[in-house]
């Protein structure tokens, strides 16, 4: 069943939803990347909550004009307008008043959402119009997705990707170093608004599938996940697109295959799974890798300190050091150094002296950067450089056995 869903074998509507969610995921991940890099992730939460009154008022307006109020484009347009107003409120409050951005977000988010709920409650009492299903904008719903809806998604996603591609350099500059961006003549406020516009577009088209409460996850989790794997902006964008697309696609497929499982929350949970995998397993920035690196480093430090203690004829007290020395065949159980231990100790002492020369000479600045008290000199310098250093060493020191 799951495989059928993943391979788009569950019928027309399920296929439409799965593809649509995948495309939405890509747009969300890429569109949210700069929001995350600019450290303004929560602005998207204000934007999404601010769509609600617009959706409700659009419904009221369309009913008043004689329709049944269910035109998706109309509802989304209403959501976009009120979200834009909410966004401008946050922007104005945080740049023109002394209010910090987090406070502005909290105020705008709750007020707009509260107002939206009031409007929805009023709608329930209306006698005309087909109000059933409006609340699906809260948590999303994929039942009855139409081809035209999917087309809207594809267009919006394409627009988002194109905008991010065109604006990637100004957006990078503003996120990394806003003062420099200003000094080179960029209009930082306008670039920020463009970024918010991209986020707004993704939010509005995502309302139908994921719902306004969870859309923020599709904007933020993918770039955060991608960040674990790379130190480059372009790769964060690429990775966020992949993570977002995968989450949307797989999440929608699961909810199509398993009865009575909501699409939006499943998509978010899939992206969370990818996030957890990255958090734990990513090389370099991942938790496991950090722990392993820390443990390895700790062992190397202990071993090195043990060797230096041997070389200087000092006793070793720490258990871990003793154990590591014995296991390495450097020391006997009774604390007496083996031949191998003495040789290594002499080497450690020599490297220590070499490092002192390297670190005091600017000509070796690049090499000195690799100083950690552990690295073997021969892996840092060329044989020629080593000879130069050795020639400058103080008189050779014997190793006391």
């Amino acid at each position: 069943m799951i495989w059928d869903a993943l391979l788009l074998g569950l019928g027309y509507n399920a296929t439409l939803v799965t593809l649509g969610a995948g495309i939405l995921g890509i747009a969300g991940g890429v569109g949210g990347s700069f929001l995350f890099l600019r450290k303004r992730a929560l602005v998207s939460d204000a934007v999404s909550h601010a769509t609600l009154p617009g959706v409700g008022l659009a419904f009221v307006l369309m009913v008043a004009m004689g329709g049944d109020g269910r035109n998706l484009i109309g509802l989304l347009a209403g959501g976009a307008v009120s979200a834009a107003i909410g966004l401008l409120c946050v922007n104005w409050l945080s740049t023109r008043t002394r209010l910090a951005e987090d406070a502005a977000i909290g105020a705008v988010l709750s007020v707009f959402f509260g107002f939206g709920i009031v409007v929805l409650t009023y709608i329930q009492t209306m006698s005309s119009g087909r109000q059933a299903g409006l609340e699906s904008f809260l948590l999303g719903s994929t039942a009855g997705m139409l081809q035209s809806d999917a087309l809207v998604l594809v267009l919006a996603a394409a627009l988002t990707l194109a905008l991010v591609l065109i604006l990637r350099r100004p957006l990078t500059l503003v996120a990394f170093d806003p003062d420099f961006a200003l000094a080179t003549g960029r209009n930082v406020n306008r670039i920020d608004l463009a970024m918010m516009g991209i986020v707004l577009a993704v939010t509005v088209v995502g309302l139908k599938i994921v719902g306004l409460i969870l859309i923020v996850a599709l904007l933020i989790i993918p770039p955060v996940t991608a960040r674990f794997w790379t130190e480059r902006v372009d790769r964060v964008l690429l990775g966020a697109g992949i993570v977002g697309g995968l989450s949307g696609y797989v999440g929608a497929a699961i909810s199509a295959a398993v009865p009575d499982v909501p699409t939006g929350p499943i998509i978010v949970l899939v992206s969370f799974a990818l996030f957890m995998i990255s958090l734990l397993c990513a090389p370099g920035r991942g938790v496991v890798s950090s722990v392993v690196q820390h443990r390895q480093y700790q062992r190397r430090v202990h071993l090195r300190q043990g060797l230096l203690a041997l070389a200087q004829g000092q006793p070793i007290y720490e258990r871990l050091t003793q154990r590591l020395m014995e296991r390495g065949g450097l020391m006997r159980g009774d604390g007496v150094a083996t031949d191998k231990g003495r040789a290594h100790a002499a080497q450690a002492l020599l490297d220590e002296a070499r490092w002192q020369v390297v670190r005091s000479d600017q000509a070796y600045a690049a090499a000195a950067l690799r100083y950690d008290g552990l690295t073997e000199m021969s892996s840092v310098l060329t044989p020629d450089q080593l000879r130069d250093i050795d020639a400058r060493l103080p008189a050779p020191q014997g190793v006391t056995p």
């Binding site: 890099l37 990078t172 996120a175 170093d177 003062d179 960040r227 902006v233 600045a365 950067l369």
Partner: protein, 277 residues
């Protein structure tokens, strides 16, 4: 070096100097809230020279620089570059901000930071080609940082980061270089590397303006000084302007007598400190 005094008959008029200046500021006032940080400041930078902006803490040095660049919006005043509004001339201006102003955990490598200096020339969609990379590496070479090209920016020491930002400014290929405390918190080797690059720029005909805080090196590093304490105090060549009287005016009581004495070697003695020697 001949020093032209304003009294000379054939000396350029104020307006002429302003037109020829790579950075001329008139009546600039910037305030935070109701308190001006910089008040009605005039400044005319000489082309092809190195100018130090000096003054006590909170005197508005960085504010002046930022307002000149359009980073801060002034309440009043004009900034012209070669007689034209600064905004038209941005391509000719490079900027090295204070180190603290950026996000050090940002996913960017040293070479990417330098390439940011070339975004103006690359445009929105222009591809980064081998020649651009070579140009960026060349800028890193000039500040002695080629070995670090692929490191994430946060992994560098403070001095190394400062050199990378200088390399980014070099990549801008500008004629006017504005630096905000380039020597703050850097090691001696970096300070030497930076000053050598700046002097190289000056010798190549570029103009350098730096906010500077170390009075003891002003004489060695700079041609001109601009003293400020909210208002402009004095402006001119180091030899005639970097005097005890001017420093006392700029720093008020904040420059302790001991500091003055330590500086006395490098100062043109017109004040009491020199007499005491």
């Amino acid at each position: 070096m001949t020093i032209t005094l304003a009294r000379d008959k054939d000396a350029p008029t104020d307006a002429e100097r302003r037109l020829a200046s790579p950075l001329a500021i008139r009546g600039l006032t910037v305030s935070y809230g109701q308190k001006p940080a910089v008040f009605s400041v005039d400044m005319t930078v000489r082309a092809g020279h190195m100018t130090a902006i000096i003054g006590p803490n909170g005197a508005g040095k960085s504010t002046l620089l930022k307002a000149a660049l359009g980073i801060l919006k002034p309440l009043a005043g004009t900034v012209t570059v070669l007689g034209q509004p600064m905004a038209w001339q941005r391509d000719h201006i490079a900027y090295v901000p204070q180190r603290a102003s950026v996000d050090w955990d940002f996913p960017t490598r040293v070479i990417d930071v330098v390439l940011m200096g070339m975004y103006g020339q690359l445009g929105l969609l222009g591809r980064v080609r081998a020649k651009h990379r070579a140009q960026a590496m060349d800028c890193l070479e000039r500040v002695g940082m080629t070995d670090f090209a692929t490191r994430q920016i946060g992994q560098l020491s403070g001095g190394q980061q400062q050199r990378v930002f200088l390399a980014r400014a070099l990549a801008q290929g500008a004629d006017l270089y504005l630096l905000d405390e380039p020597f703050a918190g850097v090691d001696a080797a970096t300070e030497q590397a930076i000053i050598n690059v700046l002097k190289g720029l000056r010798d190549a005909g570029k103009t350098v303006v730096a906010v500077h805080h170390d009075l003891s090196t002003v004489r060695d590093y700079f041609d001109d000084v601009f003293l400020i304490n909210t208002q402009a105090v004095a402006e001119g060549p180091v030899a005639t302007t970097f005097t005890q009287t001017n420093l006392q005016t700029a720093y008020g009581g904040r420059l302790a007598g001991a500091q003055m004495d330590a500086l006395a070697d490098t100062l043109i003695g017109t004040g009491t400190g020199a007499a005491a020697r």
